[in-house]
Amino acid sequence: MSKYRFAIDVQFKSSVRDPRGETIERVLRTEKGLPIYHLRLGKSIHLEVEAENEVEATRIVHQACEDLLVNPVVEEYEVRTL
C-alpha cells in the first residue's frame, strides 16, 4: 500500500450566487483600485489516500467527494495530485 496526496478544488456552480466572493471582489476593485472581476470564493481540501495504486486512490478521492465533500446540487469540483 502506498500513500497518494491530492488537492480538491470545490467551487459553486456559475448559476449560484456567492455573496462572500462578491464582497471581496468589490473591495479589491473599489477600495484597492484593482481591475478584478468574477471572484469566486470556493474551498480547497488537501488529503492523503492509502491505496494499492494511483488509479484506486483517485477512485477513492472521487468517492469521498460524492459521499460528503461536495454538494452536487450547487457545487462542482476538480481533483489534482500533489
Binding site: V16, R17, P19, L68, N71, V73, V74
Partner: protein
C-alpha cells in the same frame, strides 16, 4: 404518542423544542448519536450548529448513524420536523430537495419575520388558516433556499426578503406532507412570554394529527 429530539454535537435548540412539545402534552425524549428511533411517532431535528457547520451546515450530521435512523423512520412514514439546522440536515440527507446557502446579504440574520402560511394541508399546519400571516423568529447565516424542484410543496413563505431565498421560500415539505423543513423557529414562539405564540399552532397541529391517527 412519543416524540424524539435528535441531539447532535452542536445542536442548541433541543431544549426549546423539548419544552414546546411538553407544553402541548407530548411525551418527549432526547436521542443521541447511537440511539434508536423505534417507537417514535415524531422525530425533530432541532436548530443549532451541528459539527460547527464544518464543510457545509448539516453535512456531517447528515452522515451520522442516527441520521440513518431518521431515514428509516421517514421510510416507515413517521413525521419528521427539521428546524433551522435540522432543515439543513434534512436537505443534506436528501430527504428534502434543494440547498440552503449563505444569506445573500452575507450576514447572519436574527430577528422576527412575517410569514405567509401557504399550505395548511400538512400534519404540521392543519390548525393554521390558509394564507394566514404569522410572526416567528429566524436566526441563521445559511438560510437562502436554492430551489431545484419546481413542484416542491412550499409551506411557509417570507413576506419580506430575509435571506435571498428563491420565491421567498421559508419552509418546504415532501409530497405526502410528512417531512417538514423550516428555517424559522416555532419553538421560540409558543407562548406569550417568549414574545409571540404563533408557533404554538404548529405543535398543536402535530399533536392533534398524531392523536387522531393513534385512536
Amino acid at each position: 404518542m412519543k416524540a424524539c429530539i435528535v441531539v447532535y454535537p452542536g445542536s442548541n435548540c433541543d431544549r426549546d423544542v423539548y419544552h414546546a412539545l411538553k407544553y402541548v402534552g407530548v411525551d418527549v425524549n432526547y436521542v443521541g448519536l447511537d440511539d434508536s428511533l423505534d417507537g417514535c411517532d415524531l422525530v425533530v431535528l432541532p436548530g443549532g450548529f451541528s459539527y460547527g457547520d464544518y464543510l457545509r451546515p448539516g453535512a456531517v450530521a447528515a452522515r451520522e448513524k442516527i441520521s440513518h435512523e431518521v431515514r428509516r423512520a421517514a421510510d416507515r412514514g413517521k413525521l419528521i420536523l427539521g428546524i433551522c439546522n435540522g432543515f439543513q440536515i434534512l436537505i443534506e440527507m436528501g430527504l428534502l430537495p434543494g440547498a440552503l446557502l449563505r444569506n445573500s446579504s452575507g450576514r447572519f440574520v436574527s430577528k422576527w419575520v412575517r410569514l405567509i402560511v401557504e399550505d395548511v394541508d400538512t400534519p404540521f399546519t392543519r390548525n393554521f388558516k390558509s394564507r394566514e400571516v404569522i410572526k416567528l423568529p429566524v436566526a441563521h447565516g445559511y438560510g437562502r433556499y436554492f430551489k431545484t424542484d419546481s413542484a416542491i410543496r412550499v409551506v411557509f413563505k417570507y413576506m419580506d426578503d430575509v435571506n435571498g431565498s428563491d420565491d421567498m421560500i421559508a419552509a418546504v415539505t415532501t409530497e405526502d406532507g410528512r417531512i417538514l423543513g423550516m428555517m424559522p423557529h416555532p419553538e421560540r414562539a409558543y407562548e406569550k412570554l417568549l414574545g409571540g405564540e404563533d408557533g404554538l399552532k404548529l405543535f398543536t397541529s402535530v399533536v392533534e394529527y398524531l392523536r387522531r391517527n393513534a385512536s
